[in-house]
């Protein structure tokens, strides 16, 4: 019995000479972000920017040089990604390691030329890339985005991913779109939107979103931040933010409502063989900022007006985004998912012609607000 143990130990001694996967952490080129650009040249179509961590330049309490930039971007060209990654070895002694990759930025031109499916397949195939990597699209060059010095975080790639964590603070911020979700959307054959990132006064800024069509897997249009808000209302992603009632919408001065909680249900219904979608939005809000002097929050019924105006604002936003989607015949509103859940028989029969059905789908929108309070004090 003990022989087994001894044999094992002696074998281990033999193997001590070669520890195949042993690789010290400081010898790695940890990569935080990737930027993908399109060159258009015949030979080297793609250009890939890798954001390396430079550990020595990280500020810390330990002695050591600080003050340098803690990252280094290396941009290389090639006709496929794997080749470019291996080409990195010509310029840096540390083999790139993607296990800590945070964000990938695609440039608009690249997605116009190549289907996202092909672009992403390499990243999904390799086990080093996690399913939680965030994806962004930009109208600028991806290399430029990654070169912008971040404001609070150490690395631009981390800052980008962190920005999308604000999705519960603003209606204009979409939740992080991860590799896993993109893969899901592609395998399901659905259209979807990718958060757009841009530059504002030398700072990284989240903008709207780019629409990826399920037919071509390429970018076919853009959504503005306001339209993102409408989209979030439809897809039940609203968890915070505000509803601003502008002066032009009412006779009163402007008012801002803060969203406390919100939920949307999409209910496809069959009526005489015709599919209709009912959209029910329910939300609880609080008066956050009020420019109307005459309002007295202590008198009953003060919220009625605000409620109606707020509901109108949201309804318009939703209608707007539905119109856009239906014009483009691209269902990134998840109507297909809900139809397949609620009306499986209908879905099974008609899912092949969904684009046509979707574009003419009658949608009723029902927005229901509850105003829960006005804060701690009302000075008006």
């Amino acid at each position: 019995m003990k022989k087994g143990l001894l044999v094992f130990l002696s074998l281990q001694l033999l193997f001590l000479t070669s520890c195949w996967d042993s690789n010290e952490i400081e010898d790695l080129g940890m990569i935080m972000g990737i930027g993908l650009d399109y060159n258009g040249e015949e030979k080297d179509v793609f250009s890939m920017t890798n954001q390396y961590v430079v550990p020595n330049n990280i500020e810390g309490t330990q002695t050591g040089s600080s003050g340098g930039i803690p990252y280094q971007n290396i941009t290389l060209n090639g006709s496929n990604f794997f080749q470019i990654i291996r080409e990195n070895s010509l310029e840096t002694d540390r083999p790139p390691n993607y296990t800590h990759l945070k964000s990938v930025v695609f440039t608009e031109r690249l997605l116009q030329q190549e289907p996202l499916k092909q672009l992403i397949s390499f990243f999904l195939r390799d086990h080093e890339f996690r399913r939680t990597v965030a994806i962004f699209i930009t109208k600028e060059s991806a290399a430029e985005i990654l070169a912008i010095e971040p404001t609070k975080e150490m690395f631009p790639a981390v800052q980008m991913k962190e920005l999308t964590q604000n999705h519960n603070r603003s209606l204009y911020v979409q939740d992080t779109l991860k590799f896993g979700e993109v893969s899901k959307k592609i395998t399901e054959g659905a259209s979807f939107v990718i958060p757009e990132i841009g530059i504002n006064n030398g700072r990284i800024r989240l903008l709207g979103a780019g629409i990826i069509s399920n037919k071509t897997e390429k970018i076919v249009g853009w959504l503005t931040p306001e339209e993102i808000a409408g989209l979030k209302w439809v897809t039940d992603e609203v968890s915070g933010g505000l509803v601003a009632i502008k002066e032009k919408n009412s006779e009163e001065d402007q008012a801002v409502l803060e969203i406390m909680k919100a939920s949307t249900t999409i209910e496809p219904e069959m009526k005489d063989g015709q599919l209709t979608v009912h959209l029910k939005v329910k939300s609880a809000l609080r008066l956050a900022e009020d420019w109307e002097i005459k309002r007295d929050v202590f008198s009953e019924g003060w919220e009625e007006d605000l409620k109606k105006q707020g509901e109108k604002v949201v309804k318009e936003e939703i209608e707007h985004v539905i119109t856009i989607a239906q014009e483009q015949q691209l269902d990134y509103l998840e109507f297909s998912t809900w139809t397949s859940i609620k009306q499986p028989a209908y879905w099974k029969k008609h899912h092949k012609e969904w684009e046509r059905i979707f574009s003419q789908l009658p949608v009723t929108i029902d927005v229901d607000f509850t105003l829960t309070g006005y804060g701690t004090q009302d000075i008006n």
């Binding site: 019995m1 022989k3 087994g4 143990l5 044999v7 094992f8 074998l11 193997f15 195949w20 996967d21 086990h127 996690r130 399913r131 939680t132 964590q165 896993g180 893969s183 899901k184 395998t187 399901e188 054959g189 998840e334 998912t337 809900w338 397949s340 859940i341 609620k342 499986p344 028989a345």
Partner: protein, 362 residues
């Protein structure tokens, strides 16, 4: 109380043996065949079929208390045919061991040790298993008991951590049934419950003759594995969606990889799952390894178990290195299923029929 004390180690033996590769690859296989969000119903049906089969095997073994299948086969169908049947059963256990450890080696190569040769990964596993098997059945049962709570705890933790990532829309519609697809799925889910056939080997050292306790043991073991599988199916579908399941090689691990808590002490949790899972692979391997060794020893009447132990280990190791890649490995899996039919249904049925004949002679 007395029966519970006695049956707990056996229940643990069965559960540890049954849970193996299935938990990692089954969701993909089933998704390709069934392809609807309620495909976990197939798992329940598969468990039911397995339970029936297990009871049938018990019906055979009940007649011969304290004897293994290796003992009764030569008795019933004659010495040489019996030995042939024994060798077929041994081949089956060796093949299944090789298959599961090769799948494990693939996963270890993908997710833990990229460049380490599979030979080394498999060698250390087989060697450590050889050591455990050499200590004998009572110690194997003790080993399984020691790790059983750990396995359960890891699976429970993984479930709790994954709940956040579940999207209920992936799991719906539940009630929309396509019976024929679900039944087709049973064919593959059934095989993820193999392991109960080792009842035919375990009966050598444990007196398993009464209907009530054995039905209880088999019911609890297959039932709890079924619960665990259904749970993991729901997690897999909920986190990854059906369409995604069809294209991911090892969905459960990808699901574990999708867990990420930013800024928490541990950010990533796939290691937790891999730990628990490699333990289950090790326990499954041990059970089959032991059965194979016992079979060979009984067939050739060899008392030198150490030699046989090494021989079986070598065979498993060599067989597991045979497939060249993962696609080939999975295609071997279908051949293995045919062998399973032989070991699970054909051999017991044959012996069962002969047992009547012999009974009449007596």
């Amino acid at each position: 109380m007395q029966t519970n004390q006695h049956s707990l180690p056996i229940i643990i033996f069965f559960i540890s043996t049954i849970i193996g590769v299935g938990i990692v690859t089954l969701p993909r296989e089933t998704a390709t065949i069934v392809g609807q969000p309620n495909m976990w119903i197939s798992v329940i049906l598969g468990a039911f079929v397995a339970f029936i089969n297990a009871l049938f095997i018990f019906m055979l073994m009940k007649k011969y208390p304290l004897k293994t299948v290796y003992d009764i086969a030569p008795e019933l169908v004659g010495k040489w045919i019996g030995k042939l049947l024994n060798l077929i059963f041994v081949c089956y256990t060796i093949a299944i061991s090789a298959f599961i450890i090769r799948t494990m080696a693939e996963i270890v190569n993908y997710y833990l040790l990229d460049k380490t040769p599979k030979f080394v990964v498999l060698l250390v596993l087989v060697l450590s298993c050889m050591y455990l098997v050499s200590t004998g059945l009572p110690n194997i049962l003790l080993f399984l008991q020691l790790y059983f709570p750990i396995i359960l705890l890891m699976f429970l933790l993984l479930t709790l951590l994954s709940i956040k990532n579940i999207e209920p829309t992936h799991l719906r519609p539940i009630l929309y049934l396509d019976g024929s697809d679900l039944l087709k799925g049973v064919n593959s889910t059934f095989f993820s419950f193999v392991g109960y056939e080792l009842l035919m080997v375990l009966s050598g050292e444990h007196r398993l003759t009464r209907w009530k306790p054995v039905t209880f043991i088999l019911g609890i073991s297959i039932g709890s594995v079924c619960v665990i599988y259904v749970l993991f199916f729901i997690l897999n579908i909920g986190v990854l969606s059906i369409e995604e399941l069809k294209v991911i090689t090892f969905p459960t691990i990808e699901m574990a990889k999708a867990i990420e808590f930013q800024g928490f002490f541990f950010e990533r949790f796939e290691l937790l799952f891999l730990f628990g899972w490699i333990i289950t692979i090790f326990t499954t391997l041990t059970a089959y390894y032991y059965s194979a060794m016992l079979g060979v020893c009984k067939t050739v009447n060899c008392k030198k178990t150490f030699f046989m132990n090494a021989l079986i280990g070598l065979l498993i190791l060599m067989l597991s290195l045979l497939p060249s890649g993962i696609t080939e490995l999975f295609s071997y899996g279908t051949y293995l299923n045919y062998l399973s039919y032989v070991a699970l249904i054909a051999i017991p049925l044959l012996l069962f029929l002969f047992s009547f004949k012999k009974g009449a002679v007596k």
